[in-house]
């Protein structure tokens, strides 16, 4: 469960201050599938980075499963990321010369999971995303969609509280994007995963149960998607 109250983020670049977030209020319950939309530069990625504990807000409150993130130091933030969060990036970000299995295992290294258990969970996760027959493939032997599936397996293998995907389909064609979204929707339903995605496309956002719109660093609309896609 995510609770954000009056969150601001100011980037200072020399003389200039950029107010990327100007007081965001947002609550996301576990099991929700949320899409964040908004024009370019509105602060979507900034908000995702805050939720992802990759950066700390300038002011305001952020609690993730009851943990007050604003007060954590760098090592604690790393520990929270390792256990509570799964990331899916637009550019997949797989280690180029390692197998799909090794890529999916990698995050679990940093939280004290034994190697057998790592391998088992990585395999299950790859099966869940339909890549069970590509365990030993390197990223350059996989299509973009397949690489993104591996990246999703990597994000979910450790059973995080929240999966964060900033434009997960941004580098994919529309058919592959639909496949990926369909899969995320299934994972959300069957694995009870909390998923937050950022997208520019309403077709993609249509898969979510809830659509949050951001403009100039504040939430402008927050509505239930009464008839989610699929």
């Amino acid at each position: 469960m995510i609770t954000i109250e009056q969150m601001t983020k100011v980037y200072t670049m020399g003389e200039i201050e950029v107010h990327a977030l100007r007081g965001v209020n947002l609550t996301i319950n576990s099991g929700e599938f949320v899409a964040i939309m908004g024009p370019s530069g509105s602060g979507k990625s900034t908000l995702m980075n805050m939720i992802g504990c990759l950066d700390t807000p300038t002011s305001g409150r952020y609690a993730l499963d009851g943990i007050e993130v604003a007060s954590l130091n760098d090592n604690d933030l790393s520990a929270v990321r390792a256990r509570k969060l799964g990331f899916v990036f637009q550019q997949y970000m797989l280690l180029p010369r390692q197998s799909a299995l090794a890529n999916v295992e990698m995050p679990m290294l940093y939280r004290g999971i034994e190697s057998k258990e790592r391998a088992r969970r990585a395999q299950v996760a790859l099966e869940l995303v339909g890549m069970g027959n590509r365990l030993d493939h390197r990223p350059n032997e996989l299509s973009g969609g397949q690489q993104q599936r591996v990246a999703i397996a990597r994000a979910l293998a450790g059973s995080p509280s929240v999966i964060l995907a900033d434009e997960p389909t941004g580098a994919l064609d529309s058919t592959t994007s639909e496949e990926i979204m369909y899969m995320l929707k299934q994972l959300n339903r069957e694995q009870k995963l909390t998923i937050i995605i950022v997208t520019h496309e309403s077709d993609i956002a249509a898969y979510a149960d809830r659509i949050v719109t951001i403009r100039d660093g504040v939430v402008t609309t927050d509505r239930k998607n009464e008839v989610p896609h699929v």
Partner: protein, 429 residues
């Protein structure tokens, strides 16, 4: 949907609560990373390999060369004392009244019953030596039988002249190896007759090559009984009827007696030459080869250090190579670092991973370098061309330098990346 996922539920993780990697996992991550990027690993190691190989081979060959030089000189005998004419600490061409070194000086030393082999008088002069097919101007050295013992002469063929030859001033000659080759080529010399300044002498022996040489190599000389040199070959008589000698040499049996022997001889000669009373300077020199050796070894040490310094530069270049490759791959690696940080690695995990990578690279590269650098010296040593044993010193020095350069040049870029904010690292282009 062609690819229906398997319907299994991934249960929540029960982890140990430990953050970061343990050392076994760190090692695995580092080795995986090195193995996954074999070309980069190899290129990075190449600089270290070349650097270490050149340090080891240059240092080893330098040491070998200096040992060879020193041992050639010590083959001439470190216990050998040589007595010259002339005042100590002055160059040649001295003026003033210096009584020449003569047979009476030699006899005085011989009477002292010192713990020595010898003394041996030597009278040398230049003469033309004519063999049937070639002739050559060479140094002819008149001496006694003990010369062979004092100077460690071994015979290639034939024998050295005897006491009888010396007493009887026999017309016999012993040739140095180079001189023999010049006069007779590869043919037999013993039994042949050569003319020394027209005096016919029978060759009775050829000496084995000594190499090196302190005061003109014996390899180029012809040795005759000193009596023959004094009476029939050269004008050696002084105005007061004595027989001149060029040098007197002797070998002290026990090295501990060298200083004592040197002093005794000095006193005796001063006595004999009536230098004692008025406190005037010596007009002779008693010189020990050991003192030459020590100044010689200073020079060769300098040479070895110089070679090591050159090799050290190549090791430094190797280190810069590591840094270069690290910097070239920094985009890829920075993204990797950002990714690892994003999914939960602490900056310590990143730093340790890179440190281990650097240690493995530089030690492995160093080890290969030691092996490659040893091939030439070991081959030379085994074939007997040149004695250049690989010293532990050169191995330790080059391995620690390669480790240091590897750590320094490998970790510095990684450290910067590990301290980056993960978002910036992920975005790195």
């Amino acid at each position: 949907m062609s690819n229906q996922p398997v319907r299994r539920v991934l249960e929540p993780v029960s982890d140990t609560g430990r953050n970061g990697l343990d050392y076994r996992e760190l090692l695995k991550v580092s080795l995986d990373s090195l193995l996954a990027n074999r070309l980069r690993t190899f290129l990075t190691m190449l600089g270290i390999i070349i650097g270490v190989a050149s340090v080891v081979s240059l240092m080893t060959l330098g040491n070998g060369a200096s040992n060879a030089i020193t041992s050639q000189f010590s083959a001439l005998g470190t216990n050998v004392l040589t007595i010259f004419n002339g005042r100590p600490n002055r160059g040649p061409g001295q003026s003033g009244n210096i009584a020449p070194l003569t047979m009476s000086d030699y006899k005085a030393i011989a009477r002292m019953r010192l713990p020595i082999v010898g003394p041996v008088p030597q009278f040398s002069s230049s003469a033309t030596i004519a063999a049937p097919v070639a002739d050559k101007s060479a140094t002819v050295l008149g001496t006694t039988t003990d010369y062979a013992k004092v100077q460690n002469i071994t015979m290639d063929t034939g024998s050295f002249f005897t006491d009888g030859n010396v007493q009887g001033a026999s017309q016999v000659v012993v040739l140095g190896s180079s001189l023999k080759t010049y006069l007779f080529g590869s043919g037999e010399a013993v039994g042949e007759t050569v003319r020394i300044n027209t005096l016919a002498c029978r060759v009775i022996g050829v000496m084995a090559s000594k190499g090196g040489g302190g005061f003109g190599s014996v390899d180029d000389q012809a040795l005759v009984p000193i009596t023959l040199a004094h009476t029939r070959l050269f004008a050696a008589r002084t105005s007061d009827g004595n027989l001149r000698v060029s040098t007197i040499s002797l070998s002290v049996i026990n090295a501990d007696d060298i200083d004592f022997t040197q002093q005794r001889i000095q006193m005796t000669l001063r006595d004999l030459r009536k230098l004692k009373s008025d406190g005037s300077e010596d007009d002779f020199n008693v010189i020990n080869q050991a003192s030459f050796l020590s100044s010689l070894s200073n020079i060769t040490t300098l040479l070895t250090t110089f070679l090591a310094a050159i090799a050290g530069i190549s090791l430094l270049v190797g280190g810069i190579g590591i840094m270069n490759i690290m910097l070239v791959s920094v985009t890829e690696r920075t993204k990797e670092i950002g990714l690892r940080r994003a999914v939960g690695a602490q900056s310590r995990d990143i730093l340790l991973q890179f440190m281990i990578e650097a240690v493995v690279l530089s030690l492995l590269g160093g080890f290969i370098g030691v092996v490659l650098g040893s091939i030439l010296p070991v081959a030379l040593t085994i074939t007997g061309t040149f004695n250049a044993p690989v010293t532990l010193n050169s191995v330790i020095i080059s391995l620690s330098v390669s480790l240091a350069t590897g750590l320094f040049f490998g970790i510095w870029p990684a450290r910067n990346a590990a301290n980056l904010n993960p978002i910036q690292a992920l975005r790195h282009e």
